[in-house]
Every structure is written in structure tokens, then in C-alpha cells.
Symmetry: C2
Amino acid sequence: MGRPLRADAERSVRAILEAAERVLADDAGASMEQIAEAAGLTRITVHRRFANRQALLEALAVSAKQQLLDAIGEARPDSAPALVALYRVTANVLRVKNTWRFTLSHATPHTSAAAAVWEEIDTYTVELLARAQHEGLLAPDADLDWTRQVYYALLSEALDRPGANQDPAAQDPDALAALVIDTLLHGAGPRG
Amino acid sequence: MGRPLRADAERSVRAILEAAERVLADDAGASMEQIAEAAGLTRITVHRRFANRQALLEALAVSAKQQLLDAIGEARPDSAPALVALYRVTANVLRVKNTWRFTLSHATPHTSAAAAVWEEIDTYTVELLARAQHEGLLAPDADLDWTRQVYYALLSEALDRPGANQDPAAQDPDALAALVIDTLLHGAGPRG
DNA sequence: CCTATTTGCGTCATCCGTGTATCAGATAGA
DNA sequence: TCTATCTGATACACGGATGACGCAAATAGG
């Protein structure tokens, strides 16, 4: 679109997005003023970068979802057995999801841009699950759409879990990933 | 508190609560005006029954949670084996949760009254799960708090499931209950 | 160092939702 | 029927959030 932003302006955009995540996580109806303050900027500057509230929300959604995609890519899931891939992806996703709790849990894709990234993530997840099914990790007759839905839900719940630690951010993603996958594959019933 | 409401006023209160559920489900930030209109009333009348927006939200929360408790009670869960009880409770809860989607999913208990009902439901659920554990339905070392969390999440997901039917309200609660419990107990993995 | 860009400040207008008050008409219920 | 109660209409005050304007100071980056 326009010319590239200057380095400091770029930093401002980052600061605004991160501040928005923090502030909105605490109060979904927070004002632009509060977000600006949390970013160490003025409301006017925020307005300069994002025409209106809606634009900010959309940018936030796209940014977070892009980070999710990156985290999935970093796990290099296609170069390992499904179970290993599932572990790595889960741990990475938990990290990102923990950082962008508000944005990723209110992920109503009111925009085509956001919807596109979301679609990509969904598709990829189902492919991974299908591979797991072929390798015998999932029941042959398992409904993959339902499984994906459950998987997403477990990811969210794992982060909201009141752990032994006070600070939820300090929970070990690898341990949580193990919990998520174990529950996804076997539920809470006794092991055969 | 005050004297009992007249019959028509009582009906208005019901209409307002039901309208609020419908309207807020579509837009969580909807105005009192919109809610009033949906209830076939004026904003002024809404204000007469609920001093401010917060009061309406709280009344909504208490009402819905009370219906949940009633639904659980109607299942007479203590007079049957844990598995049967679990089925009956799940089916009943799904019915209520489907009617009060918004209210019950944004169940942030900002009030002591709402928190009390919630606490009661939580306690009861864990007790039921503990009974299931004793009867061998759950693994002996299963974390019941985590299991309850997963159970709640599955209930929500089941209602958001895009079924074969267009109308989600038309989904058979018994079939959904079976799906929820099966997933809770065994996950998506192959059966032993 | 010099210029284009960014940012903060003060100020303004406007819209929207909320909450209140009064009065007249309609209705429930005894 | 008759009275207490409920509802609607109109109007007003208030606060908060939004969005836009020009101007001066600070700063990035060639």
C-alpha cells in the first residue's frame, strides 16, 4: 500500500498491537485511549496507524494468526512421524496462544484476510490429524472435524488450567502439550 | 425485597431476559434499546425492571445458571449408576445450554449470587466424576479438575458443531450426549 | 548535517448509550 | 366497577468514545 514505515513507526505499530492484547485481555471493551497509554503513546498516534477501532482489531487478528502459522511452520511437522509432529506443533502453538490469549480466543474472523489465515490453519491441522489416523494414532472411523474441534478446545483449556504455579505463563509448554495430546488420544478413561 | 410483581410485569421480565439472550448472542455489545425492541417493549420499561445494564446481565446469569441446576436435578443422577447419570445429566445440560448459549458461555461470575450457583454446579460435577472414577469409568489417577474442565469444553463444542442439520437447535441432545461422553472417556484414539 | 517523517499537544465537534423525570393512557385483578 | 400498577411517549442531562484539525518539537536515516 503506502510507502514503508520508518523504523520507529514500525516499532510503534508493534507496541500498539502488544498493548492492545494486554489491555483487551483484561477488558474487552477498553478504549483506544487505554490501549494508547499502555503502549506508551497517545491516542492520536494510535489513530494515525489504525483508522478506527475495527481496523485495529483486524490487524491484531491477522498478526496473531500469522504468528500461529509461523509457529506451526517452525515445528517442521512434515519431517517427522505424526505423533512427534503433533507434540512439536502443540507445544509451539501453546506458546503463541499463551502470548495472544485475547486475540486468539476472540477469533471471530469478520474479515476476509483473517478468515484466509484461519482457513489455512484449519486445513493444515486436519491434514496432520489425517496423517495421525493413517499411522494408527486415531481410530479409523474418527470424525476428523470433531477431532479438530476437540483439539482446539483442549489447547484453550490447557492454558486456562490453574496449575501449581501462580503464573500461568510460566507453565511448561511441553508438559501441557503432553497433557493435551494424551487427553485427545485417550480421554480420561482407564487405559486398555 | 419489594412486593410481588403483577402478572404482566412478570411476563415482561421473562421477555426481556429471553430477548437479551437472543440479541446478545448476536452482538455482545448490543444496547439496551436493541434488547428492548427485541422484547417488544420500550427501553424505559427495561430500565424499570433492571436499574442498569450490569443488573440485567447479572439477572441473566443467575436465571440461566438456576435453570442449569434444575436441569441437573431433573436428571435424578444420584439414583443411577455413574454412567447412566452422566448420560442423563449431559443430555439435560445440553438442552439448557443450547437455549442460553450466550449467557452460559460468557459466564464470568462478577457477582456473588452468580458465583454461588456456579460453585454449586462445579462441586456437583466433580462429585459425579468422582463417583464415575470409583466405578472404574475413569482412570484411577485421572485429575478430576482437568477432567471437569474438559467435560465443560466438550459440552460447548458439541453445541457449536456444524451438524448434518442446518438448524443447530434441532440436533438430538441424546446423540450429542453420547458423543461428548464417548470423547471424554476414550478420546479420539483407537479402542483397546 | 539536513530533510522528511513521526509524534505529542491542545482543541473542537459529534455521536451514542445511559439514566432520569413527568404525565397520560391502558390493563390486571380484586 | 374501581383502584393500584404497569407501560409508553416525550424530553432532558450527562459522560464517554470517536474522529479530525493545525502546529511545534523531536528524531530517524541518508
